[in-house]
Subunit: 353 residues, 2 copies
């Protein structure tokens, strides 16, 4: 198929540093190319891809955070996509509500994967106006605040199976916390769970600008370097050892996580996940197989007692079966094809009428 | 005519506090209604108008300054306007580039007044994509960075002639500075000019969040309460006495001001303007009649020497002749009618072909 992928412009594809959406768009794009599709990626010019790259703007927007520069690049992206739309079989947007009005009024099938949470106050104000626009959720749970939208399907994320591969587990025994240091990611709960289980916690996490005060006042006093060790941010090459060596990944989140890539990153390294049942968690963790979905900290501590009974090879195997970029890309191709069929049928009906 | 006015959503129309664009949209809307046109105003729900009000969102966005809430309301506005577009003869947008892609692909004539400066780095990136969209500039000078765009005309701002009326000049002699305390508005130059002229300066100005450090470190030490008195922000009712009582308004700007409402506010009170020749200034101040356009601070001091020779009644008269909301509204109706004629001709040609 001739497929346009339209990425966010805040970061490059893939991102230089953090940026879950941009990583997923990159993985999907590369996998579609590997499957033989003709893919065009609309993204910032500092992106790297084996697809055709259309540079919407030279550089990622992350360093120009004001109103005009945030909205304006999307206006440009939409116009560039519109001008080339007839060249594609399907247009796949990853930029929230931006394409809805314009691309509802043209004939090329389009869909939008929503990557964010939908329980924010402004969401119904905008999304509620577009009950017919085909959407993809990244977990079923993500849809919950807006079930009335036109959900085409759920396509859960996947990642390249060779990106992270398990190493033999050796050295000291510890639990892993990976991601961001913020209240909703549950870093305090993770520290308490590790302490109650009598295990060391290693924390590999970003501190976002909005969380600097929280880190300084609340979290950093808990990092003693002994029972709780802070490693800073780590990249993919460090993740392999970090996750392969951990007894389990703690994911005691306190928010409706739309997907949560770190869970499947852990599984890729054979590391089971102990997680609270918010957001996508029950859809990602197979309880008793790739980890445990627990209701509270006490249950988490109990789960850590029996976590050695989980087979780490099985965790990796389930990762390959459920969370590969190929599976994700195939899911998307299925929905692309369905949208094209539906569009053809609609056009045929229209002409016949 | 059946006219849609589409306002910014950052402030209500008119704004609670500062907001030049929202004030102008309000004045234009009310004047068009007074002229017998059927006007619909798309704005925030806390706006006040004698036109039909479509509340795009309940409240002004100024208190929710993050990415999604800034872009999302515009996505909603565009969709709401699109859905009702066939009810109107013309759509008049005041929301920058937002309408360009969508409204280029529908038959109702539309135009966009650009209220901001166009010499910013991101401007060509977006505006350059739309060489055919009809635009209105608020001064000829405003066009200078982007002369190649499709400028339909310049319509300079106007204001209701009864909003500010001159009072008799009495009491102490002083110069006035009105607006914002920021480097580009020239507050330091104003203080130096007043000192060199041996006159008191009264400053009625807002301190924006971005200018707090500048105010604290640079400007506030210059406010001695004697030679330079700071009055804080003032509203329209205070402006009458403030401007009527001043020997002149100092407008020693250091940036390409697209219009500069304070100049015509001063004229409304019969107060002449001494201004640097940036941006719209030479188009607004009639040198030797409603004030003096001067090249530097020395010329400003010299101009203040001869400012008593300007007749304040003439300043007010020229305000009424050149800067009324009625004149502005009539200018806009002329361009609305021209766009409708051109559209009809184009449609006729298309059908004939």
């Amino acid at each position: 198929m001739r497929i346009a992928q339209i990425a966010p412009l805040f970061e490059s594809v893939p991102p230089r540093r953090y940026g879950g959406t941009e990583r997923v768009v990159s993985w999907l794009t590369e996998e579609l190319v590997a499957m033989g599709h003709q893919v065009t990626l609309f993204a910032t010019g500092d992106s790297r891809t084996s697809a055709e790259l259309v540079a919407v703007r030279e550089q990622a927007c992350r360093f120009v955070p004001n109103f005009e520069t945030n909205c304006a690049p999307y206006a440009r992206a939409l116009e560039l996509v519109w001008q080339r739309a007839p060249e594609f079989d399907v247009l796949h947007f990853h930029i929230d509500f931006h394409p809805f009005s314009l691309f509802s009024r043209q004939p090329v099938p389009f869909l939008t994967t929503l990557h964010g949470r939908l329980d924010l106050p402004w969401v119904p104000e905008v999304y509620g106006l577009f009950p017919d626009v085909p959407l993809v959720s990244i977990s079923d749970n993500q849809r919950r605040p807006m079930p009335q939208l036109n959900w085409a399907t759920t396509v859960r994320h996947g990642m390249p199976t060779d990106l992270l591969r398990p190493l033999a587990r050796e050295g000291e025994d510890y639990l892993a916390f990976l991601g961001r240091i913020s209240p909703e990611k549950g870093i305090e709960a993770a520290i308490r769970i590790a302490a109650a289980a009598g295990l060391k916690l290693k924390v590999a996490a970003k501190i976002g600008e909005e969380d600097i005060t929280y880190y300084r006042d609340v979290v950093s006093p808990l990092f003693d370097g002994q029972r709780v060790e802070y490693l800073g941010e780590i990249d993919d090459s460090d993740k392999v050892a970090f996750l392969s060596g951990a007894r389990a990944l703690l994911f005691p989140i306190a928010w409706p996580e739309p997907f949560g890539l770190v869970m499947i990153e852990a599984m890729a390294c054979g590391c089971p996940v102990v997680a609270f049942p918010h957001g996508s968690v029950p859809e990602v963790v197979e309880d008793g197989r790739t980890g445990y979905v627990v209701a509270n900290e006490a249950e988490a501590v109990a789960a850590l007692d029996r976590i050695a009974s989980l087979d780490r090879a099985t965790v990796r195997q389930r990762f390959e079966e459920r969370w590969s970029a190929r599976r994700m890309a195939e899911d998307y191709v299925a929905v692309y094809e369905r949208l094209c069929r539906e569009r053809r049928t609609a056009t045929w009906r229209q002409r016949a009428a």
